[in-house]
Point group: C2
């Protein structure tokens, strides 16, 4: 294994533990470690409210743990770099979060995460823990209308954390939260584009082999190919093509209230993300759609990969209220609002 | 000029205009364009309070305009990529912001910005506009105890925006704000490290020529050399060396309340920033210092450069109160707080 000469790390085996340690030291009023790789709120909410829990590998910071906090996640269960946490760890978290009101587990559709979640939920049920799952599958790179199984969970989970966190705070029941989540996931879609690859921080292996001047629309969060390689075009052309594909998936009606997030995955600058947002906004406007909620941020990264994810959803009024008008102190959620 | 094949942009001449357009479309409840390259709050605060204004080139997003909003900046005047805005543009902004209470102009110590600020302030005084300047000069790469003239303004300006915005909201006078700011700048210091260069988005020129496996401590925000090139060491060694240099500059007394911000400048991952924060925190703790305010974020970037800035300050209690306890809705400021 090559020595890692391109990143500020220590022993590659310690990456996840050390980054979580740093994270909770930086934000001690908001988050804490309840156990190894289990991030929870510093001030837990009352037990008569449903807990929102998620899971996923590290290496995507600030996701997922960056969104633990009042008004968002109650708990994030972290795996090693790009690896799902094991079922035992997740079960441990469910035991910590156990409550009468129940637990809603948000699972991004990646096979490792799904497997751990299924197993942990079985263990939890046997232990008398009330838990339900909701799957996010926003990626559309497998094609318009592809079956849910073929659609990965990308950054579209993050606004869902906000919606569910706010709704749970309001006292919504577990079943009501499942309905709110499923109504969101059925109307959410994400498309990623990559332009320069990243390296895995534990072994220095390059995740994909994108040549200079080539972009790949539909690239996954871990080097998975999307099939859409072609020479790099302008920001406007890229944005227009992606909006078109997303709208073909979502089929919004004229006047629909849309969410539009440009999520930077690493090396692509905020400067570029702003320029892409501008064109995507205008494309939606030209279709008679209203951007009710916008955001330009690195919410879920893929190491130092260059590229971005365009996250879109048709929002109902309750979704907008939870997204916009309710505060959160999660360390990486900036408060929007009037 | 080579065609730009590595970034999502359109015509290189349109970068600044387009990114600002995208920005205000994404955050319409918080920010607006008052004129070309002049970003202001959507809801201006009352005129009996001092306005906080800053200026600087684009290409460093989310800085500086990302921190316009309730409780932070009133106005950001933007130049072209890595270029100061002209004095006329800045004077135009001062005219827009004119008020009895006065304007406090926060200027990062870079020759172009200082020149524009001096000239615009002269024009403003002739026009009967009440304005005072405060200079930020947190960079210590010129050496411990180097004269203020040799110290550039780095990301240390951003927490100052928060402090001043909150203090101005409270009704502090122009003179009181100058005192609060000077007490902060006298006790703030930043050190940057670069590991991989970036390219200028308008001409594709590489900003520095850092070989693989080499890092440069003290690198500036625009490719300026810092003199400290050496083979890359571990995150912990890098953090320890930087903390040592910053503490030699600041000379905090045991028990001092410190600000510690790890600012990612582009391609360096949030993962790494967390790991660096962890060690820096422990180094401060080992010196008997208390981290009263921490943050890990990309607040001021240098395109896709790899590296980070370690921003440190000895805080007084009023600074902490303004930083921690007062809310802001600026699009890139996450609300901390109990």
């Amino acid at each position: 294994m090559d020595q890692i000469k391109t990143k500020f790390i220590n022993n590659p085996d310690d990456i996840t533990r050390e980054l979580l340690e740093g994270y909770v030291l930086a934000y001690p009023d908001q988050v804490a470690l309840a156990a190894e790789n289990i991030v929870v709120r510093k001030n837990p909410k009352s037990e008569d409210k449903v807990a929102i829990v998620t899971l996923g590998g590290s290496g995507h910071e600030p996701a997922l743990s960056g969104f633990v906090g009042d008004g968002m996640l109650d708990c994030s269960v972290v795996g090693d770099v790009f690896a799902a946490p094991g079922a035992q760890r997740l079960f441990q978290a469910l035991q910590i979060m156990k409550r009468e009101a129940g637990i809603l587990l948000v699972v991004l559709n990646h096979s490792g995460d799904v497997m751990s979640a299924n197993m942990a939920c079985q263990l939890a049920e046997r232990a008398g823990i009330k838990v339900k799952k909701v799957l996010t599958y926003d990626d559309i790179s497998a094609g318009i209308g592809a079956p849910m199984d073929d659609r990965r969970g990308l950054a579209g989970c993050v606004p869902l954390y906000k919606i569910l966190g706010a709704a749970a705070d309001e006292g919504k029941s577990l079943d009501e939260l499942v309905e709110i989540a499923e109504r969101y996931t059925a109307n959410a879609a994400t498309l990623a584009v990559a332009m320069r690859s990243c390296s895995h921080p534990q072994n220095n292996v390059t995740m994909t082999d994108l040549p200079d001047g080539i972009m790949e629309i539909g690239a996954g969060q871990h080097g998975e190919g999307g099939g859409g390689r072609k020479p790099l075009v302008s920001a406007d052309e890229t944005a227009a093509e992606m909006v078109d594909l997303l709208c073909r998936q979502l089929q919004p009606k004229e006047g629909s209230k849309m969410m539009l997030i440009i999520n930077g995955v690493g090396a692509t600058t905020h400067m570029e993300l702003n320029i892409v947002f501008r064109k995507a906004y205008k494309e939606l406007e030209a279709r008679g759609l209203q951007v009710a909620y916008g955001r330009i941020q690195e919410i879920l990264t893929v190491q130092e990969q260059a590229g971005f994810q365009m996250v879109m959803a048709i929002l109902d009024d309750d979704h907008i209220d939870y997204l916009v008008n309710k505060a959160s102190n999660a360390p990486y959620w900036t408060t929007i609002g009037k």
